[in-house]
């Protein structure tokens, strides 16, 4: 596959062999070398076949091989022109995302209470297989309709939290009737649980500020102890995607659509099946918003217990909550006119520019916070949306894997990874020590370079770099 280098961080795959638009990958030379070593570029090309796709099949700097869509893929389809929605462009973990909490504590405070904080969170945060949930399953039907607000009304969270959530923690158009009994059965035991794999809860320190004005608006300051958590819609979302993909196969035939990979199954947004998928997806997304809300509540309780203060005295205000696996109907300007697009972000974060009306008043001047987690041992980043984003207001969602799970386990044992992290001053409470090496820092790309490429490509601007001091791993 031959890419044309457009600039130092932009690579174009010309539209050939049935591609409706070109492929565009945002990457440095070093990151592009990694892309060429796997099948992610092939997936960028395949996505370019989707009916109604507009402008380009984009890939963020953390792109890697996924299933159907590449992880880090962004595809926007023109709804009025028969543009499609593809469950594979959202993924199984619908509305997987990242939440960041500020605090009134510093790294020095954490050093004094390190063991108490880690033990409290270790005990309180359900994770891994068969480990339960914080909230009652009876809350699930309301959560599917009202998202994080349902969790808030049930006593999880603080007033003011919702303003700092993407979409205020509520995906519109939710249709709980499109969520199967199977999906609800899975979700009922999992509301307020972290999951496993690359999901985590990290205690971090604001290590460097690059934009003090935006950082201040977001509620961040140098040296502040913060908490980042990464999880999604759990089994409820996985089942919803499974159910909908099963329906899409026959539906595609009815609509006369063919795609290069069955995982790219899709139907027109403006079709019965398309509307049903979006309704089921939104309901599942509402579960994810609420899931992170419940977990954040438990984090506040855990810090209060560890520091022996009230939850309010922890100062653990919500900085922001972002999704990185969603399809959304958004107005965007294309060729001089504003049209409605179905923007798929599969492992990519929405990044609205300063002044966007959907942002809360107190951060509107700075742009949307974009949360880019690393993987234990490595930094995480807070970026912000900027004007002129070339990929439908999208940015990276993480570091991006570079090594398979098998390779990662062969390089070091879980015990070795834990020892290295502890030596580096990072406390670790894994769901399983044996599985820790699958998510070792060396299994991921250089997150600092991903953030740098985001900045140089005009996807987002740097605000703050966060350094981990404690990890609760799923």
């Amino acid at each position: 596959m031959v890419f044309r280098r457009v600039s130092d961080v932009v690579w174009e795959l010309p539209a050939i062999d049935g591609m409706r638009v070109p492929g565009i990958i945002f990457a440095s030379q070093a990151l592009m070398t990694l892309v060429r070593e796997e099948r992610a570029a092939e997936q960028v090309r395949n996505v370019a076949h989707l009916p109604g796709i507009t402008k380009a099949s984009f890939a963020m700097p953390d792109i890697h091989w996924g299933y159907g869509f590449p992880i880090g893929g962004v595809a926007a389809t023109d709804v009025a022109a028969g543009g499609v929605v593809s469950p594979g462009g959202v993924g199984f973990d619908i509305c997987c995302g990242v939440r960041l909490l500020a605090s009134s504590f510093t790294e020095a405070d954490f050093e004094r209470f390190r063991d108490r904080v880690m033990s409290s969170l270790d005990r309180r945060i359900p994770r891994g297989m068969g480990r339960g949930a914080i909230a009652s399953g009876s809350l699930v039907p309301e959560v599917l309709v009202r998202g994080a607000a349902a969790a808030l009304d049930a006593g999880y969270g603080w007033q003011g939290d919702l303003e700092r959530c993407e979409e205020q923690g509520l995906s519109s158009g939710a249709d709980p009737s499109a969520v199967s009994d199977h999906a609800i059965a899975r979700g009922k035991g999992q509301l307020g649980s972290l999951g496993s794999g690359n999901h985590f809860l990290e205690i971090q320190v604001v290590d460097q500020l690059f934009d003090p004005v935006a950082a201040s608006a977001f509620g961040l300051d140098a040296g502040m102890l913060v908490v980042m958590l990464h999880c999604g819609s759990r089994g409820l979302g996985h089942q919803t995607c499974t159910d909908q993909l099963r329906l899409m196969g026959p539906a595609m035939a009815r609509h006369g659509i063919s795609v290069p990979d069955r995982q790219l199954a899709c139907v027109p947004v403006e079709s019965t099946e398309g509307r049903e998928y979006l309704g089921a997806m939104a309901a599942s997304a509402n579960f994810a918003w609420a899931n992170r809300h419940v977990l954040a509540h438990e984090v506040r309780e855990g810090f209060a217990e560890a520091f022996d203060v009230s939850p309010e005295a922890t100062g653990m205000r919500l900085v922001y909550d972002v999704a990185h696996n969603l399809a959304k109907l958004e107005p965007h300007q294309v060729d001089g006119r504003v049209i409605e697009l179905c923007v798929h972000r599969k492992g990519a974060t929405r990044a609205f520019a300063p002044g966007h009306p959907d942002l809360a008043q107190d951060i509107r001047g700075s742009g949307q916070p974009v949360l880019v987690p690393g993987s234990m041992g490595t930094a995480s980043w807070v970026l912000r949306g900027v004007a002129g984003n070339p990929a439908f207001s999208s940015a990276a969602h993480g570091a991006g894997r570079v090594m398979s799970r098998k390779q990662a386990k062969q390089r070091e044992s879980g015990r070795m990874v834990r020892d290295h992290l502890e030596t580096a001053g990072i406390s670790v409470r894994p769901g399983s020590v044996a599985l820790l090496s699958e998510e070792a820092p060396y299994a991921y790309k250089d997150v600092d370079e991903v953030a740098e490429v985001c900045a140089r490509a005009g996807l987002a601007a740097k605000v703050a770099r966060l350094r981990p001091v404690g990890v609760i791993k799923g």
């Binding site: 299933y67 159907g68 297989m129 794999g197 996985h238 196969g249 799970r405 599985l435």
Partner: protein, 137 residues
Amino acid sequence: MPYRVLPHTADTGIEGTAETLDSLIAVMSQGMFELVGRCKASSQRRWLTLTIDAETVEDLLVDTMSELLYLSETEDLLFCDFRVRVHPGGPAATMEVGGVPASAVEPAGPPIKAVTYHDLVVERREGKWYGRVYFDV
């Protein structure tokens, strides 16, 4: 081993070969759960029965494995014994599966989120049944 783990940057896949479609579904199901953990031979099994109807043999494999993931999560079981009978005349199968409480198994890998259609293959090759499937992990 009748199946092989396929490399993938973020997720995991397996491919397998068997004399019959019944055996292939059993082998692939076994492979999927062995990615997560292995039951001790001495552990008491709990047995469940499921029946799957599908449009194609590919769908039969994906639907069967997806249903097993659902049962695994909701019943808190890790499955390790698989008895499959594909119905003559159409892509449908009845399966008896034996499992142990997932919480009692030492994990070999993270739980599998879902069975994907990416690069999915179920076909006859050189007189045997061949299957390839990737999982979201």
